[in-house]
């Protein structure tokens, strides 16, 4: 992965096949389709659910620190473990996990380029056997909120245009034509986008096989929307997961310094009473 700013955070399927039995490497599958792991997964990989494990199950929030420590400990991960994340749909939710692990300061987190799709397409080994990894002690760091945007910061961005806002949803969601992707619940009251946001759909960062586009292609993709990394960037989507993928691309593949994921996203902004909304073309 020589072209990217942080190639150490991205590994190939070949690398995973070679290192998957390394005791200091823990593979973790995180899928949007939470049943996919049980169909078959990379031998030794543990599965995390974004719906029940990578969140606070009582209030709307990311996973609490103590819950993350338990999850990692139970997964046989300690602070020195190399965590390799992969998942379905272009690593959408693998990047959601990556973002949370970085919030809690895990040092060595990597993404398997191409994710589950590439692994399956290449006909590599799968199993339905549950992995067994001895527990390890894990201590998370205090959360690094420099990579997370909250509502007041986004409101400040809208008032004073202090950052580039990137809306990574589909063009139809951006314009307000639809409130949610087809087949998913409409969890906001209004359609449209945050004033001043530029539309760059998250999946444009990927090739057909699920791998990330090249450094030059990614740089051009965002530059065409006016996002060049010379200003702070805030990415958002509907519930914060698609934008974690874009956050990873901007921060680790392109190396832009100040990039935040606004995980409140449109389900927060589009439900606010009196919040300004723009509709119309991307």
């Amino acid at each position: 992965m020589p072209d990217y700013s942080h190639p150490e955070t991205l590994v190939s399927t070949d690398w995973v096949d070679t290192h998957r039995k390394d005791p200091n490497v823990r593979l973790v599958e995180v899928d949007v389709d939470t049943k996919a792991y049980d169909e078959g997964h990379i031998p030794g990989a543990v599965g995390w659910s974004w719906q029940t494990q990578l969140c606070d199950t009582v209030r709307r929030d990311i996973i609490p620190k103590e819950a993350l420590e338990r999850l990692l400990s139970d997964s046989g991960i300690d602070n020195g473990t190399t965590i390799v994340l992969y998942g379905d749909n272009n690593n959408w939710f693998a990047c959601w996990a990556f973002w949370q692990l970085k919030i809690y300061g895990h040092d060595d987190v990597r993404v398997m380029n191409g994710g589950r799709k590439k692994w399956l397409q290449e006909g590599r080994e799968l199993t339905r056997d549950a992995p067994s990894h001895p527990k390890r002690a894990y201590r998370a760091k205090e959360p690094d909120l420099s990579i997370r945007a909250f509502l007041p910061e986004v409101q400040e961005v809208v008032r004073n245009r202090t950052a580039d806002l990137v809306d990574v949803r589909s063009p139809q969601e951006f314009t307000g034509e639809i409130l949610a992707p087809p087949g998913l619940p409409e969890t906001c009251q209004r359609g449209g986008h945050i004033p001043g946001a530029r539309s760059v759909t998250w999946s444009l960062a990927c090739n057909e096989d699920g791998t990330f586009k090249s450094f030059d292609e990614l740089k051009e993709l965002y530059a065409k929307a006016g996002v060049r990394g010379d200003r702070p960037i805030v990415a958002y989507c509907r519930i914060g997961e698609r934008s974690s993928h874009t956050w990873y691309v901007l921060k680790y593949l392109l190396g832009y310094k100040d990039v935040r994921n606004y995980d409140g996203s449109w389900t927060e902004w589009g439900n606010l009473v009196g919040a300004p909304v723009e509709k119309g073309a991307a």
Binding site: V32, D33, G40, D88, L120, P181, G183, L184
Partner: protein, 72 residues
């Protein structure tokens, strides 16, 4: 165990673009249907033939998308 006969194609259901992905794992065929953008799975099926798996997933997806159209 390895995924075999992997295939993916797109079609329209209830006016929406959807993507079918199917493959065989062991003696079972799996098919899931996603909504292309963002790619969330809206139907899935598992059975002994590809045709049955795709047919079952198609009907589930059609029902779900038709509910979505009228806000259900």
């Amino acid at each position: 165990m390895r995924a075999e006969d992997y295939r993916s194609f797109e079609e329209r259901l209830e006016g929406w673009p959807v993507r079918f992905t199917s493959y065989r794992l062991g003696d079972r065929y799996y098919c899931h249907v996603d909504n292309v953008e963002p790619g969330a799975v809206i139907a899935r099926a598992e059975t002994t033939t590809r045709e049955e798996a795709e047919g079952s997933a198609r009907e589930q997806a059609r029902r779900r998308l038709s509910r979505g159209r009228d806000g259900g």
